[in-house]
Every structure is written in structure tokens, then in C-alpha cells.
């Protein structure tokens, strides 16, 4: 019995413990890397699509952790950034196809937000490919499995997400454009 408990604890720790990182926040032991992907799926389309993938016994990687939301338009960028901060390697947002939203226009909002957030992440120095928006309807179980497979492969090739925390030794490169930005006096 002790052996099983120890094993279970070990598995738990493996999931919870942060991976070994170098000073740039890169994973040193790449072989052990299993992407942690967070999925925000809308209740009416994508979640039902994922359900269909399940009951159809379709195979897709177990790297995705799904959070069901009532509408993809209800996902605040705050939640997405918080997830990245807490160490998500990739985020998949699933919503209804344009025009099919249960709340008529919720997914327009998602589309605008994600498009904007991609640009912002890029400017902050994060790869926008870690954030992915897909329209998956309730009938597209096959497509859901396909998207998760494809996205997991992509994140696996991108490697672990860089840290959101400042790391000692990581210096702000002095830029000429910012020099002399002292007090502006009369």
C-alpha cells in the first residue's frame, strides 16, 4: 500500500513541480516536457464538440485541461494572461462559428479580443502562437480532436512557455531611444 501511495505522490509532484529551468526560463530537460494546455470551451458549441469527440472514442492528447465557459465572449483577457502567468504553455479558445453564437454576438467580441491580445503578447515578447482561437461547432468532434492534436504538437515544438517573472541576470538592454528621458524642465 505504501508503494502505491508513494507512486501516486510522485506522479502528483511531477505534475505540480515546476520544470527545471535555466536563467532564461527555458526548460533544460526537454525530453520530459509535456505541454500544459488550457482550453476554454464555450458551452454551446465547442464543449459539445469535445463531448462528441469523447463519445465517438476519438483519440487526442491528454495535455489539454478544459474549462467550460458559457460563451467564449465571456473570457476576459485577464483570465488568459493569468493562465500564462501561472505557467500554461498554450491556451486554446473554442467558440461557436461566426453567426452561430448562442448569445448572437459573443464570439465577435472574442475574435476582436484575441486578435488584439496576440499583437500585445508579441510586443511584450511572447510568442502569440501559444494563444489559439478556433471555431468548433457541436457537430465537429473530429475537428476538435484534430485541433487539439495539432495544437499540442505545435506547443511541443515551441517548447515550454517562457516565464512571466523577471529573472536575475536578465537585463534591460539600454536603448538609445530611451536615453536622456529624465525630468523635463521648464
Amino acid at each position: 500500500m505504501r508503494g502505491t501511495a508513494g507512486l501516486r505522490l510522485n506522479v502528483r509532484l511531477r505534475l505540480l513541480a515546476p520544470d527545471v529551468e535555466d536563467k532564461w526560463g527555458m526548460n533544460v530537460d526537454d525530453k520530459a516536457f509535456e505541454p500544459k494546455i488550457l482550453g476554454f470551451l464555450c458551452n454551446w458549441c465547442s464543449y459539445a464538440g469535445a463531448d462528441l469527440a469523447g463519445v465517438s472514442r476519438l483519440q487526442y492528447p491528454a495535455n489539454i485541461r478544459i474549462i467550460r465557459v458559457m460563451c467564449s465572449g465571456g473570457i476576459s483577457p485577464h483570465h488568459l494572461l493569468h493562465a500564462f502567468q501561472k505557467g500554461a504553455d498554450g491556451i486554446l479558445i473554442g467558440g461557436c462559428h461566426i453567426g452561430d453564437c448562442h448569445y448572437l454576438k459573443g464570439n465577435y467580441m472574442t475574435m476582436k479580443r484575441v486578435k488584439f491580445l496576440e499583437g500585445l503578447l508579441k510586443f511584450a515578447g511572447y510568442d502569440p502562437r501559444r494563444l489559439r482561437l478556433e471555431w468548433i461547432s457541436a457537430a465537429e468532434g473530429l475537428r476538435f480532436a484534430e485541433v487539439v492534436r495539432e495544437f499540442t504538437d505545435q506547443i511541443r515544438s515551441l517548447g515550454p512557455a517562457p516565464t512571466f517573472e523577471a529573472v536575475p541576470g536578465m537585463d534591460a538592454h539600454p536603448s538609445e531611444a530611451f536615453s536622456g528621458r529624465g525630468e523635463f524642465t521648464v
Partner: protein
């Protein structure tokens, strides 16, 4: 400043006027009324900038029946328009007197419109269309840029100064104070703190730069929000502070403002 504003006050067209008064050699924002109208000074160009709109908004929330006048720069005029659009102020309760910024200030701000449309005082300076700072950041490699931002954000002392001084941060409840999402005890706060604020500035930031000026940690926030503005213009073809149109992030979304993939 004295004659025009004095006549506004004495004729009773405005109940109060937010102008500036020199104290100890520095201009300070001050609310002039009929009673202290003789304290008004002649206009002179300054580089001193204050969150006048924040003061105006606070005053108007307390006395919604009064009419106020305000001396604005180009950025403050853009801010006023945004506040009108977001239904925070009533356009017919605000009377605007405009002043132009000096060329030095416009260059330092990299301001695209350093003068208001209604110009009463000063000569309009030439607009600066390119931002050297944003271009320098865009030229960096992605990893280098991440290090650059993280090092700056690491100095944050979580004072909320950038939010408190911002003329378009008018929400009475702020998601940056949500304790489930932003820890109240961690210092420096999560770097997502600044990115969330940047998201909220989308379609709203009027590029006044008060956030960067007030920041005790000297985080170059203005460059972040300048890029936010550039993105909003590139994706949605919307520039905050213009007369017509609404922010693309208003709900429900307008189909016309959908990004073209």
C-alpha cells in the same frame, strides 16, 4: 486666460473653471469660481501637466447639475471626447478653452496632435507621427524585448498610480483589485498586471503619458500604450479621441469593426 475666462465666469456661463494658478513658482490646477475670478493670471506656456480631467470628473460626479469650464491641451481634448462617448460626462455641461503645447513638449511626448481643435492660446506645434521608442522596441528580438519589459515591470511597487492618474480610467470597480486574479501581497505584482492594464487601454488610451510621468518606478508605460494604440488603429482602424465612432471593444461588437484576417 484672464479676460476670456473671467467673462465666462462673470456672465454665469460656467459655475467653475479648472485653470492653473502659480504657487511657489509652479503652476497648479485650481478651480476658479465667480468669487476668486480676480485671481486668474494671464496665460503662459508651461510644460506642467496635471490630471485635470480626473479633477473635472470627480467634481462633476459630485455636482451633476453644474456647468464647468476647463483649460485643455490636445491630449485632454481627446480624453474629454472619450469620456463623452463612454457617457461619463455630458457634452453640454463642459465648456472647453484650448491651449497648444510647445514644440519641445510635443517632441518629448512624441505626440500626434499636440494641440486641441478649439485653440485659444498658443501656436500649434508640428505633430510627431513616428515614435522612436516604439520603433526601437519593435526592432528588438522577441526574447530580448521580453527581458526588457520584465526588467522594467519588475520594479513595479503596485501603487496603482498609473490607473489613478489616467483620465480614461473611470471605472468605479477595477479588475486590477480583484484579489483572485491579482495578489494583494505579492511584490512586484505579476507582470500580467501591466498587460491587463494595457488590454483595458485598447480603444481608450489618449496618449497623454501621465501614467509614465507619475510612475515612481519609471516604467516606460507610455511606449506600451503607444503600441496598444497602434494595434487598435492597425486592426480596427479606430483612433481614440476622434469625434465619431466608438471603441471596437464596446459591447455588443459592431460587425464592421471585425478584424480582417
Amino acid at each position: 486666460m484672464d479676460t476670456k475666462i473671467k467673462s465666462l465666469l462673470l456672465e454665469g456661463r460656467v459655475d467653475g473653471f479648472w485653470g492653473y494658478r502659480t504657487m511657489n513658482g509652479f503652476p497648479f490646477p485650481r478651480l476658479f469660481t465667480k468669487e476668486n475670478a480676480n485671481e486668474l493670471e494671464p496665460w503662459r506656456p508651461t510644460v506642467a501637466r496635471y490630471p485635470v480631467l480626473k479633477l473635472l470628473l470627480r467634481e462633476m460626479r459630485m455636482h451633476s447639475d453644474r456647468t464647468y469650464g476647463v483649460l485643455v491641451r490636445g491630449c485632454e481634448e481627446r480624453g474629454l471626447r472619450e469620456l463623452f462617448k463612454w457617457n461619463q460626462l455630458e457634452p453640454d455641461k463642459v465648456i472647453v478653452v484650448g491651449q497648444a503645447c510647445s514644440r519641445e513638449l510635443a517632441d518629448w511626448c512624441e505626440c500626434r496632435k499636440p494641440f486641441p481643435d478649439l485653440l485659444d492660446y498658443g501656436e500649434p506645434a508640428a505633430p510627431v507621427t513616428r515614435s522612436r521608442k516604439v520603433e526601437a522596441l519593435q526592432a528588438m528580438a522577441m526574447r530580448e524585448r521580453r527581458g526588457w519589459w520584465l526588467t522594467h515591470m519588475n520594479r513595479c511597487i503596485h501603487c496603482h498610480g498609473c490607473r489613478d492618474v489616467c483620465p480614461v480610467c473611470f471605472c468605479t470597480e477595477c479588475s486590477l483589485e480583484h484579489r483572485e486574479l491579482v495578489s494583494g501581497t505579492k511584490l512586484p505584482p505579476d507582470s500580467s498586471f501591466h498587460l491587463v492594464r494595457a488590454v483595458h487601454m485598447g480603444g481608450r488610451c489618449i496618449d497623454c503619458g501621465l501614467c509614465e510621468e507619475i510612475c515612481p518606478a519609471r516604467i516606460p508605460l507610455r511606449s506600451l500604450y503607444k503600441e496598444v494604440n497602434r494595434l487598435v488603429e492597425e486592426i480596427f482602424d479606430y483612433r481614440p479621441g476622434v469625434d465619431e465612432g466608438m471603441s471596437p471593444f464596446t459591447f455588443p461588437g459592431d460587425e464592421l469593426l471585425l478584424p480582417t484576417r
